[in-house]
Amino acid sequence: MAVLVIADHDGAHLRDTTNKTLTAALQLSTDVDVLVYGDGVQSIADAAAKLSGVRKVLLSQSADLKQDIAEDVAALVTGLAANYDVVAIPASSAGKNFAPRVAALLDVSLLSDVMEVVDANTFVRPIYAGNALETVQTSEAKKVMTVRTTAFKAAAEAEGGSATVETVAAPASKAGTRFISEEKVVSDRPELGAAKIVVSGGRALGSKEEFDAVIDPLADKLGAAVGASRAAVDAGYAPNDYQVGQTGKVVAPALYIAVGISGAIQHLAGMKDSKVIVAINKDPEAPIFSVADYGLVADYKTAVPDLMKALG
């Protein structure tokens, strides 16, 4: 059995999610190749070749691929899929965008958000915002899956391998979809999905100014990424990219600090696998306390400055 892992990267570096998807792939087979696509991403392919367990790296580059248009990426991956039994894709927003297309082009079902490999045909995945786990067995000869990367550890050695890098041609771009623009949130903080510590703010913050004045300094003091509840994002206190939850990012840091977040199931779906959870909320009955290891019943207006002081 051979597995093709699709690398996730930010244009300059391989993301940790690639490494975690590799871990899932290595549970299925020892014949694991990695596809790196984009533009000017040779150094990322070289980094992927060093990951231990990688047999070969495929590198496909074009100006079109840089825009991550689902039609183009799916065409590339489907073309390569003939040589593989499994295609494993990190469940990032880009992965979720093109993975179902690959499945449809191959006329197979998609295994979404795989969080455990039971055997070659059996997988566990979350349903109902993670309030239930489904163990499914597939009868497809070729399997296409997205991997919930927070459920897998990064492969131990990032420098153990010395795979070859092979260039593959990028298919011609489809005419129906064109890239117009993008607005990326630039930040010096760690990425939300990869951070060891996440500080998230909720509706309680009340304004963007307050969110920035309260959450950001705490995050910076801890070297943490900033997250938010849907209510905080909807109200414009934080960018969409910060949303943690069923329909936002799924995170599992060593420490998650929820400030003024009630703990709706859709929010818990995105953070309940964090190692240690801290909740700061003035309502002792807030559901967030039912999952928090350390609960501080207090007004964030005094609690967060106190916490800053206690951290020194």
Binding site: R101, S112, T135, V136, Q137, I180, Y294, A303
Partner: protein, 248 residues
């Protein structure tokens, strides 16, 4: 311009999910069922396009049990013009749903399909992308803004790292994210009107589509429970605890 909006009946998002003791699935007996929230946003967006004079007809389509008629009536209440229910008691997988919707699209010839990015039961986030692929129409997923002009939709998408705007030539498939709009509340007169709008009932056998499941659900279980920890008195105690837990 004609818009097709697929809608799904799911467990209401406020209802606590209970896994059945025999691990055969989630208990759906005697609990509140509603339209998938993302689909409600899709219907609302279609109705807004109609109110702007861009769309002329909105067709809501659902695949599900007899009670999914209520889900279609919800769509008609928001402002869809007519409904199609492909009635079945079988659980249809996303790929087969996409194939059925493709058949509907071929019969209805819409200029645009707007649908939810995921259903909050299966959380697959797959059907829209699959439908776009099968129809060979452009796709724009996770939409937080849609502008239609000159035969093209400009769609702002919520992606990791921020926002991306794509132009997709019509006909196209758009999937909705939460911030696209806030669906209106149903008014009583609209509910009365909705009940008089045409609703066609079809069967799976009306379409030449293979809906045999490819995945077998072996069991559905509860996730490991997290238990509540301790309450700390103040920030200093919190920091002391985090230090001894080794996370600071």
């Amino acid at each position: 311009m004609k818009i097709l909006v697929p809608v799904k009946r799911v467990l209401d998002y406020n209802v606590k999910v209970r896994v059945k003791a025999d691990q055969s699935g989630v208990d759906l007996a005697n609990v509140k069922m509603s339209m998938n929230p993302f689909d409600e946003i899709a219907v609302e967006e279609a109705v807004r396009l109609k109110e702007k004079g861009i769309a002329t007809e909105i067709v809501a389509v659902s695949i599900g049990p007899a009670q999914a008629k209520d889900t279609i009536i919800t769509a008609l209440t928001i402002g869809a013009d007519r409904g199609i229910l492909i009635q079945t008691d079988q659980d249809i997988e996303p790929l087969a749903v996409a194939k059925l919707l493709k058949a509907v699209a071929e019969a209805e010839q819409p200029d645009l399909i707007i649908m939810g990015k995921q259903a909050i039961d299966g959380d697959n986030n797959a059907t829209g992308q699959m439908l776009s692929t099968l129809l060979d129409w452009p796709q724009a997923t996770f939409a937080s803004k849609v502008v239609v002009e000159n035969g093209e939709a400009h769609v702002t998408r919520e992606v990791d790292g921020g926002l991306q705007t794509l132009g997709v030539k019509l006909p196209a498939v758009i999937t909705t994210d939460l911030r696209l709009n806030e669906p209106r509340y149903a008014s009583l007169p609209n509910i009365m009107k909705a009940k008089k709008k045409p609703l066609e009932i079809k069967a799976i056998t009306d379409y030449a589509v293979d809906v045999v499941p490819r995945l077998k659900v072996l069991k559905v279980t509860e996730p490991p429970k997290r238990t509540a920890g301790i309450k700390v008195a103040d920030a200093a105690e919190l920091v002391a605890n985090l230090k001894s837990a080794g996370v600071l």
